[in-house]
């Protein structure tokens, strides 16, 4: 593992890790609040967001695309809430109506507009291009100290790192609010904690994570990382603090293992081409969850103790 690793694998692995962690952190709370599928909904509306951003700006630059995707995610969240409340429809069905409609509109817009010339297609949004985020200027580990080489790092790395750090910070700052409001919303309100605003903030944070991640790694990772690492972590412990640490560990492990398997796995079987890293990372996270379901120490629900004494 020398120069070649730094050049071709280090940055994609780091980006994958940051993306996975950024999604897994809010995922912990979404699962405990029975909102696991909001991540699914958000990741689907990224496509219409970037299409509209492209139609408005005419460029495929990252920043307008991300703003478009974030706006679409927030619009979707508001629409889901509106359909749920106004139509008195259960949340799952409300999500299903909203995200499929927005996705359909996105595909239609995409087909109607002439985007064939630019690199903007559905598969890109789904799968990302993790494999291409390499650090060509690097010559080895010593490049980490070389300003010129550092300047040529893929911009996705910096963006993903910043978003990941932001989400870690938000989780730490609002830890107590999140914990109290997730466990006992009525009590939180009685304490004066703005529970409704907090819930919206959590979903917006999840949307930011999804948007930053899709840009680099596609929306498959997003769906899987919101759910698989926190779900597996829930089965490892009965303390929220420990659960969140486990989820970060599982997310990072999925990213590293998934990337390595995608890049080097086929070579071991004698195939010439690597397979989709994003897909493989999602698959690995699912395998980890499967193992947790089979062997994790706290996998079973406690039933009997809940009966009244």
């Amino acid at each position: 593992m020398g120069a070649e690793f730094v050049q071709f694998s280090l940055t994609p692995i780091l980006i994958g890790m940051f993306a996975a962690i950024a999604c897994a952190l809010p995922g912990n709370f979404l699962i405990l609040r029975r909102q696991a599928l909001i991540g699914d909904a958000i990741s689907h509306v990224v496509l219409p967001g970037i299409v509209v951003a492209f139609l408005l700006t005419g460029t495929v630059a990252a920043i307008p695309m991300m703003i478009g995707a974030a706006a679409a995610a927030i619009v979707a969240v508001i629409l889901i809430e509106a359909v749920r409340r106004l139509g008195r429809i259960e949340p799952g069905a409300a999500m299903g109506v909203v995200f499929t409609t927005l996705f359909a509109a996105g595909v239609l817009l995409l087909e109607q507009s002439d985007t064939s010339a630019v690199h903007l297609d559905v598969e890109h949004a789904l799968m990302g291009n993790l494999e291409s985020l390499i650090w060509l200027r690097a010559t080895g580990w010593e490049s980490l100290l070389d300003p010129a080489a550092l300047a040529a790092l893929p911009p996705e790395l910096g963006r993903m790192a910043v978003v990941c750090a932001l989400i870690v910070a938000l989780t730490a700052i609002f830890w107590r609010w999140l914990k109290i409001a997730t466990f006992d919303e009525g009590f939180a309100q009685a304490l004066g904690i703005p529970a409704a605003g907090l819930g919206f903030g959590l979903v917006v944070t999840a949307a930011i994570a999804a948007v930053a991640a899709f840009d680099a790694v596609g929306s498959i990772i997003v769906i899987a990382m919101f759910i698989c690492p926190p779900a597996a972590a829930r089965l490892m412990t009965n303390r929220l603090e420990v659960q969140v640490l486990w989820s970060v560990a599982f997310a990072a492990l999925s990213a590293v293992l998934g990337y390595v398997l995608a890049g080097y796995g086929p070579l071991w079987f004698g195939a010439a081409n690597a397979v989709s890293a994003a897909g493989m990372i999602a698959t690995v996270s699912g395998v980890i969850l499967g193992l947790a379901c089979l062997y994790a120490p706290h996998r079973a629900r406690i039933g009997a103790a809940r009966e009244d004494a």
């Binding site: 405990l32 609002f174 107590r176 466990f183 009525g186 420990v242 103790a305 004494a309």
Partner: protein, 274 residues
Amino acid sequence: MHRPDLAIAAHDGQALPTDTCPADSPLAVRGLTVSYGEKPAVFSVDATFPARAMSAIIGPNGAGKSTFLKAALGVVPRLSGEVRVFGTPIEKARDRIAYVPQRASVDWDFPATVLDVVQMGLYRRVGLLGRMSGRMRALALDCLGRVGMADFAHRQIGQLSGGQQQRVFLARALAQDADLYLLDEPFAGVDAATERAIIDVLKGLRDAGKSVVAVHHDLSTVRGYFDHAFLINVRRMAEGPVETAFTAETLHATYGGRLATTQIDEVMLSGGAA
């Protein structure tokens, strides 16, 4: 000129509540109306709970007892009305209120220990980012001791029995160190020992000068446990000291046919012994 409408109005012989919320009451509401959809759950209710007393909110299922409490706390929105806690709007009095929601309202499979839950009660003092100091932790442990749960501090909450869960909720309220304790059905589905322990703690609070308001469903213990009774069935039915407000007539008025006369007699007889 004789106006029949106006003349009938004169039947109103009830003592009128004072038109403003008195400042010395820990919890007073005026004209409180709450509705889910298009039927009022609580309609135009006035109530004034006394300080340094144990008050019960009593009424049949679906009579709006919990809704009344939650609306007073601002947990559910109110359609109209005014709520005063120690004479001020609730937002200014949050530090003086402790709240014990219904046990069944939370997911006990949540990944937390007993101590974690009790420490939630310290939130207003520790703040969003303050450190949970050793002193605070000792305080939480002490509150657990007061409800007889000191040995369970590091137990996962899902492993507790119903009575133990209720004690943990009470310990969390104790950690809030408030002047007014609002409890939603604190005795629902708990064992006899827990009921005893809870009532001892609540009476201790009252004797220390605190005020307690509890939604209560067991009519046979009202007289033994409480000083003040507030009877509600969407409307306010009766309010006052237990001796005068909790009578066969007010129970008839509140429960209608849901309570047979013999049951009411039983309640009235058992009251003294509890």
